[in-house]
Amino acid sequence: MLKLINISKQYHHEQALRHTSLTVETGHLTVLIGPSGCGKSTMLKIIMGLEHPEEGVIEWENTLAGVSPVLERRRKIGYVIQEGGLFPHLTARKNVTLVAEFLGWKEDKIRDRIQELCDLVQLQPELLNKFPVQLSGGQRQRISLMRALMLDPGLLLLDEPLGALDPMVRADLQQDLKAIFQKLGKTVLLVTHDMGEAAYFADFIVLMRRGKIVQQGGVEDLINNPVDPFVTRFIKAQRNPLDKLMGE
């Protein structure tokens, strides 16, 4: 179980998080959603130890996150960001194996793991010899996911992983991702601003606004029992092209 308790974070003069608490159940997929600047990405960065909150504590695997060294914590968490953040000077393979090599994994162990991951994310192994610029956006995100999963982390954080992809690629990848998450059964925390995507993936949705959690629960809860007019407005904000046929 991952617990964020009473977290506050300020950037210059902007309050990104205001006394926010969140519990993420082990083995479940939780979606963090909200408009730009609501603090959802900041939550992920704080969990990764990339940002440091002024207030509050993080509890993970029943220990305070501050207790275990930050590098170790990061290696136990997989992190995927919007454009993948692949290192442009390294081949796809090297991107994936960098940390394992640093940790001194044996060559055949690395090879086996790569094979496993290629199968999992459905990537042709030849593509691993290419450099990031030579790959498509979708391929890059699959490799980025492989990199995040290389050390078999217990927790996976994804910050708008599909945000930069065009709709068709995105739909395919959504499908694959969902299958991957189900297969892995890991604790996943996924950030998006797309309500459709959230509904597609989520067991549990956390809606944020201005550094605070507005409502959390299943999709049905948010639609049927909104705690605030904002919830309804946010859900309805996305247009469905079929509306046109239905007549408004």
Binding site: K45, E72, I77, Y79, I81, G85, L86, P88, H89, T91
Partner: protein
């Protein structure tokens, strides 16, 4: 990368350090200023000491009085020709001496002695062309006061000296505003083509007659006497007593006409200083010396070696120092401003000034030139290293952190490779600038391609200037090309690939 740098370093040292082994005998170093007469006098001292069996070398054409004096005090050189007026008004001006008789005792404090006058005074004089003199009716310096629009062109040193322009202007109440500082040898060409009308001259300059110039009378007695003497270090008396004797023997040997004639042979007839000096000692001391000339190739090779030595050592040192400094600037925002600021300020120090600052610490020759070049090489490398690391896109930087790699590994595996192109560009900039700046090293006796340039300017010899300028330019191009090539080795392939065209 480290290995390559080492190999480069070793090559440079081997190239530059392969000078002949020193013999076990007494060495005497003679210095001279960068004008013909002084070089001839320096050459005479060299020939005399060689004749007496000392190993003697001539550090010729050093950049100015202060450089020579400091080198003598620091015992980087043992002897150099000087003028009493310069001692009085420039070197020892803070002592406010009034006449030459006090000089010997004051020089004692520096453990330096001077010979009696060599027989002529090379005083400063103010000159105009005969045409200008007739046109304005000029005969005395006072006459200049009536023509405030005349353009004055003075030696850079004269512009600042106690016995130079500031004092002259005050004494004669000269109103001129249009006063330029320029190189002494260029002044003669300037006055000939009319771009300047009044110049400072040395009274023994051969050009006075050649260009048909008129010396204006110093009617208020402003300029002191400038008797030519040799200054030498006191310890020479015990190390090379014969030489001290020989130098003292030079007293009164050179009347002004002889000096002017010798200057003319070098400057107008293009004879080498060494052969003019050899003729002189042969005649006066009944010796039989033939001047040793060096061939074009030997000279080029020697200059190339000296130049590569200066550039190579200073650049390698700058890389080893500046890259880490740039990394620190990029990593610690608190130090960023300080580091970039200090390195930037160093760049603004005029090169000659920096060279002169170095002399009291490091003497003359290679070391101060290398330190100066090193300092000038810092800015491009520091700045490009800083920019290269600082501009790594945030998502990439964040990914590196998120993978749980320690700082050192992130630096080596990710940040430096990503910044490699920028760092390399900075090093390339430094190297190319360095090749050019190193030509100034000749001013403080470091040799290199600056040596023929300096001599060429003095003798108005375009061919000689080109002997320095062309190889320097070629070396700059070569360096540029080598660095362009090295991108292939130092910049990772993934960064050299072009993005595929969007359909």
């Amino acid at each position: 990368m480290v290995r390559t740098i080492f190999i480069f370093l070793i090559c440079v040292i081997l190239l530059a350090g392969s000078s002949p082994a020193t013999e076990n005998s007494i060495s005497v170093f003679v210095g001279s200023k960068k004008f013909t007469e002084n070089i001839i006098l320096g050459e005479i001292a060299v020939l005399l000491s060689r004749d007496l069996g000392y190993r003697s070398s001539h550090r010729r054409e050093l950049g100015g009085t202060q450089i020579l004096w400091n080198a003598l005090v620091k015992s980087d050189i043992d002897i150099y020709p000087e003028y009493t007026g310069t001692l009085l008004k420039e070197i020892l001006q803070s002592m406010s001496l009034t006449d030459d008789s006090q000089l010997d005792s004051v020089l004692q404090q520096f453990q330096i002695s001077k010979t009696p006058s060599l027989g002529f005074s090379n005083t400063y004089a103010i000159g105009v062309t005969k045409t200008t003199a007739e046109q304005f009716g000029l005969t005395r310096i006072s006459d200049l006061r009536r023509y405030p629009d005349l353009i004055l062109g003075f030696t850079n040193e004269f512009m600042d000296r106690e016995d130079g322009w500031p004092g002259l202007r005050a004494r004669y109440q000269l109103p001129h505003r249009n006063v330029r500082g320029l190189d002494h040898d260029l002044a003669y060409r300037g006055i000939e083509n009319g771009s300047i009308q009044v110049i400072d001259m040395y009274s023994t300059d051969a050009e006075i007659e050649y260009y048909d110039l008129v010396e204006l009378e110093d009617d208020l007695g402003y300029f002191p006497r400038y008797d030519a003497v040799y200054l030498y270090r006191d310890d020479l008396r015990s190390r090379a007593p014969g030489l001290v004797m020989a130098l003292s023997n030079m007293a009164g040997r050179i009347p002004a006409e002889d000096m002017i004639a010798m200057n003319a042979r070098v400057k107008l007839d293009r004879e080498p200083e060494s052969s003019v000096a050899a003729d002189f000692v042969n005649r006066h001391f009944s010796l039989d010396i033939t001047a040793r000339g060096t061939g074009f190739r030997a000279r080029l090779w020697k200059n190339t070696r000296a130049h590569l030595f200066l550039v190579g050592i200073s650049l390698v040192a700058a890389i080893l120092f500046a890259v880490p400094l740039g990394i620190v600037a990029a990593k610690y925002s608190r130090l960023e401003k300080i580091i970039l600021g200090v390195v930037g300020v160093i760049q603004t120090i005029p090169s000659l000034a920096l060279l002169v600052f170095m002399i009291p610490l490091l003497g003359i020759g290679g070391p101060p030139a290398i330190v100066a070049l090193f300092l000038y090489s810092l800015l491009p490398i520091v700045r490009n290293t800083y920019t290269g690391i600082h501009d790594i896109p945030a998502p990439v930087r964040e990914s590196a952190l998120a993978l749980g790699l320690p700082a050192w590994t992130r630096l080596w595996k990710i940040e430096l490779p990503l910044a490699s192109r920028s760092i390399l560009a900075g090093i390339k900039t430094s190297a190319v600038i360095n090749v050019g700046t190193a030509t100034l090293g000749a001013l403080i006796g470091a040799g290199g391609y600056g040596q023929p340039i300096l001599t060429g300017i003095r003798l108005d010899d375009i061919g000689l200037i080109l002997q320095g300028a062309v190889p320097a330019a070629a070396l700059a191009l070569l360096v540029q090309w080598l660095f362009d090539l090295s991108e292939f080795f130092f910049v990772p392939r993934g960064l050299r690939l072009k993005k595929p065209q969007n359909r």
